[in-house]
């Protein structure tokens, strides 16, 4: 574990990313205390520029809602959607990929054709269709994002399993008589986990972007304030009131950037093959 931190912290960008990420999480957790009122409530005059009235440092939007409150509450939605949809995608992707890679043969063929079916449809288009069919709500958004993002996980895990299952330590556990399920869960999966974790951190970032894009198009959950919705609502007044879309935009940028940096750092720390080469 200490080794892991040493390698992780060698990547300065990753540490910065982690700090930003923790800040975003802190804001998300503290949102109900910082802004106890609903972010949808009109609290000041509309078109209030930032830094002009005390307590409204980020200004207000076209209806007089506090942008600061929107940012804080939006962080909750973004992180929630990002994390839950990634978890669902991992569950589906890892299961299918593991089965395909371990058993091979016909099952592999069938599962991979099924995966390719999803890969041939453009992600975003499929997500829009799914959300539109199921009615926009947090659940349908999470599901839609999960459904469009599991195929790459399945392919990655399948590849890892294919190469790991021919390794001698896996064959050894076949010979000592371990059951297939045990071999998959205790022998192969832990060894495939590092690439999955790295991929998951990047998937959270993609999921946040997808959620923002959906909300931007007006397909977000109508009861949840989200960054994408704020930008979408402010785009008509972009020239008169830059701050309305600027702040949520920066929030998305920073969060996604932080997740990517952390992903890089995890990659360095978990797959230290490059670092080992020099020895």
């Amino acid at each position: 574990m200490r080794d892991f931190w040493k390698r992780f912290s060698r990547n300065k960008g990753a540490v910065i990313g982690l700090v930003i990420l923790f800040a975003v999480i802190a804001v998300a957790l503290a949102a109900p205390f910082l802004y106890p009122d609903s972010p949808w409530r009109m609290v000041q005059r509309p078109f209030l520029a930032p830094m002009t009235v005390e307590g409204f440092w980020f200004g207000t939007d076209t209806l007089g809602r506090d942008i600061g409150a929107g940012l804080a509450h939006g962080a909750r939605v973004s992180l929630l959607v990002g994390i839950v949809s990634t978890a669902v995608a991992l569950l589906v992707g890892v299961t299918l990929g593991a089965l395909a890679g371990y058993y091979g043969g016909l099952l592999d063929d069938a599962l991979m054709r099924f995966t390719e079916f999803f890969q041939t449809i453009p992600n975003f288009a499929l997500a829009i269709v799914l959300v539109a069919i199921f009615q926009p709500s947090l659940t349908s958004i999470v599901l839609a994002i999960a459904i469009v993002s599991w195929p790459p996980v399945a392919r990655l895990v399948r590849g890892e399993f294919l190469s790991l299952r021919s390794r001698e330590f896996v064959q050894a556990s076949v010979v000592i008589g371990q059951s297939n399920l045990r071999i998959i869960l205790t022998q192969i999966l832990p060894n495939a986990m590092s690439s999955v974790i790295v991929m998951a951190s990047l998937m959270v970032a993609t999921a946040i972007l997808l959620e923002s894009s959906l909300s931007f198009l007006g397909l977000g959950d109508p009861n949840q304030m989200s960054w994408g919705y704020m930008i979408g609502a402010a785009r008509t007044v972009l020239r008169q009131a830059w701050w309305m879309s600027f702040f949520p935009g920066v929030a998305i940028l920073l969060t996604v950037l932080a997740l990517n940096l952390v992903g890089e750092g995890l990659n360095d720390a978990l797959n230290p093959r490059l670092a080992r080469k020099g020895r």
Binding site: R167, E168, F169, Q171, A172, V174, I176, G177, Q178
Partner: protein, 555 residues
């Protein structure tokens, strides 16, 4: 071999390793010279710094992680360590040629052989297009490749490993270099191919009066080819001398131990007949691989086992000997049921045919037949503690965690590791120690038959001897039957009661080890035996004693 001019002189060379490596200097104060018309063998175990030395001379170090810090490498009046990269590039290939260990990956798979060799001339701006073609033809002929007129137009995948190594040699010799550096050029090859390549290198070296620096870990090869020998240990040269001196009268203690660990190649003494009851009877085993079958292609059929039959008694070691692709590993894997055989029977204790069982019915029998794997680095799960790795077998057969861990500690002691090793991860152990862990894992289920698939071929000689002794001792003590799969005839001669020689999926000769080695009947067996490097060389008594002493001090 009168004193000839020195072509290459290495003086006080030290090479630094990156911080965090197991020692500060990969190569320390190394000095030697390579003379015209001689073959200098640099011998050492893995990690002794012999390849780093060669790569330093060629300027192929992964700088700045690994960097020479002291010394000089003098070649034709110049210090190679101080030459700029372009000058080195001009020297590489033209004045110093190099061949590598792995012929399968050293050639570009999408370029024709002829084009690849011609590239050497291209890189150094020599010869016209037509001249190149002719020269390529001559080179291919000179390294003894068949049909040199047309071979240049084929792609590397059409050639066998030995032929590819010949192409590599042709490339290295294309510009008639003064020096050839060969880094374990025959390690990846079969014995018969190895013998041919060694002959070829020797022949070309005589013919062109080159200096050859030959890096190897195999004393048999040294005995076959070397004029002079330098022995390396931990980055230092501990002994240099003529081949005769070093091989027959080694002075340094390390050299003695190393030479003494080489298994003797002579018909082994008559062993008492093993009278135990037969544990395993294999009858008419068949296995055919069908590769590359697609929707529209028919697929290539390779028979890996054709009508293979043998039996192993309790307390007996049967050696399954053959070159790569002979099907010996396939047979081993069919017996432990990692592979499903296509036909035949694998009778265990006269009771059951393992080949007819599968799934749940097979599970209770798995414990009786266990396997020791080849690669000690790949055969242990890197994310599990050693104790858990060994305990997993008994636990899969219903033992509790406590019982299994207690058993694991006992077994670690049996294979001469400290029981505290149970709490550590595999990467904390050396290759030999890991192989002991692998043996302990196989023994954890109290098997009656142990299938050992090349268990020592990834290990250094001195460690090899220890692991072989351990296997022998355990077999005696636990009254096991053992199927020992190996390509190394020296090892087979040392440990097997009987041997079966395999060629292209068939057993061509089968009998007592002594009989097979002393009076081989089949032509293939004879050619295998004739190809063993250094077979005339008798290992000196001082070395044997040194190795014996070392063993006793470990025990």
């Amino acid at each position: 071999m009168a004193a000839q001019e020195a072509l290459l002189r290495v003086e006080g060379l030290s090479v630094r390793l990156p911080s965090g490596a197991d020692r500060a200097l990969a190569v320390e104060e190394v000095s030697f010279e390579l003379r015209r018309g001689e073959i200098l063998c640099i011998v050492g175990e893995s990690g002794s710094g012999k390849s780093i030395t060669a790569n330093t001379i060629m300027g192929l170090l992964p700088r700045p992680y690994v960097e020479p810090v002291a010394g000089r490498i003098l070649f034709e009046g110049r210090d190679l360590l101080r030459e700029p990269e372009p000058a080195l590039r001009a020297l590489r290939g033209s004045r110093i040629g190099m061949i590598f260990q792995e012929p399968m990956t050293a050639l570009n798979p999408v370029l024709r052989i002829g084009e690849q060799i011609a590239e050497v001339f291209d890189a150094h701006g020599r010869l016209s297009k037509k001249g190149r073609r002719e020269r390529v033809r001559d080179l291919l002929a000179s390294v003894g490749l068949p049909d040199p007129d047309n071979l240049g137009d084929s792609y590397p995948f059409r050639l066998s490993g030995g032929q590819r190594q010949r192409v590599m040699i042709a490339m290295a010799l294309a510009l008639e270099p003064a020096i050839l550096i060969a880094d374990e050029p025959t390690t990846a090859l079969d014995v018969t191919t190895q013998a041919q390549i060694l002959d070829l290198i020797k022949h070309l070296q005589r013919e062109r009066d080159m200096g050859v620096m030959f890096i190897t870990h195999d004393f048999g090869v040294v005995a076959e080819i070397a004029d002079r020998v330098a022995v390396m240990q931990f980055g230092k040269i501990v002994e240099t001398g003529t081949a005769r001196q070093v091989l027959n009268d080694p002075q340094h203690d390390y050299t003695r131990r190393l030479v003494g660990s080489v298994p003797a190649f002579e018909p082994p003494p008559e062993r008492p007949r093993v009278e135990g009851e037969p544990i395993l009877k294999v009858e008419g085993l068949q296995k055919t691989y069908i590769t590359a079958r697609g929707l529209f292609t028919k697929g290539r059929r390779v028979s890996a086992a054709r009508d293979v039959s043998f039996e192993i008694r309790r307390g007996e070691t049967l050696g399954l000997v053959g070159e790569s692709g002979s099907g010996k590993s396939t047979v081993g894997r069919c017996i432990v049921r990692l592979l499903d055989a296509d036909g035949g029977a694998i009778r265990f204790r006269e009771e059951v045919d393992l080949n007819s069982l599968s799934g749940r019915k097979l599970a209770p029998y798995r414990r009786h037949v266990q396997m020791v794997f080849q690669d000690p680095y790949a055969s242990l799960n890197p994310r599990r503690k050693v104790g858990r790795i060994i305990a997993e077998g008994p636990m899969a057969h219903g033992a509790s965690w406590k019982e299994a861990m207690a058993r694991a500690r006992e077994l670690l002691a049996l294979v001469r590791l400290d029981p505290s090793a149970a709490e550590r991860y595999p990467h904390e152990f050396s290759g030999g120690q890991r192989q002991r862990i692998g043996i302990a894992r196989a023994l954890a289920l109290d098997p009656e038959l142990l299938v050992a698939d090349e268990p020592v071929s990834a290990l250094d000689v001195s460690v090899q001897a220890q692991v072989l002794d351990l296997l022998e001792e355990i077999k005696q003590r636990l009254k096991l039957a053992m199927l020992f799969i190996t390509h190394d005839l020296r090892v087979a001669a040392q440990i097997c009661d009987r041997v079966a020689v395999m060629q292209q999926g068939q057993i061509v000769e089968y009998g007592d080890t002594r009989r097979v080695f002393a009076e081989p009947q089949h032509a293939y067996t004879r050619s295998l035996l004739a190809a063993v490097p250094g077979k005339e060389w008798k290992i000196p008594e001082v070395a044997r004693q040194a190795a014996q002493k070392q063993k006793e001090s470990i025990a």
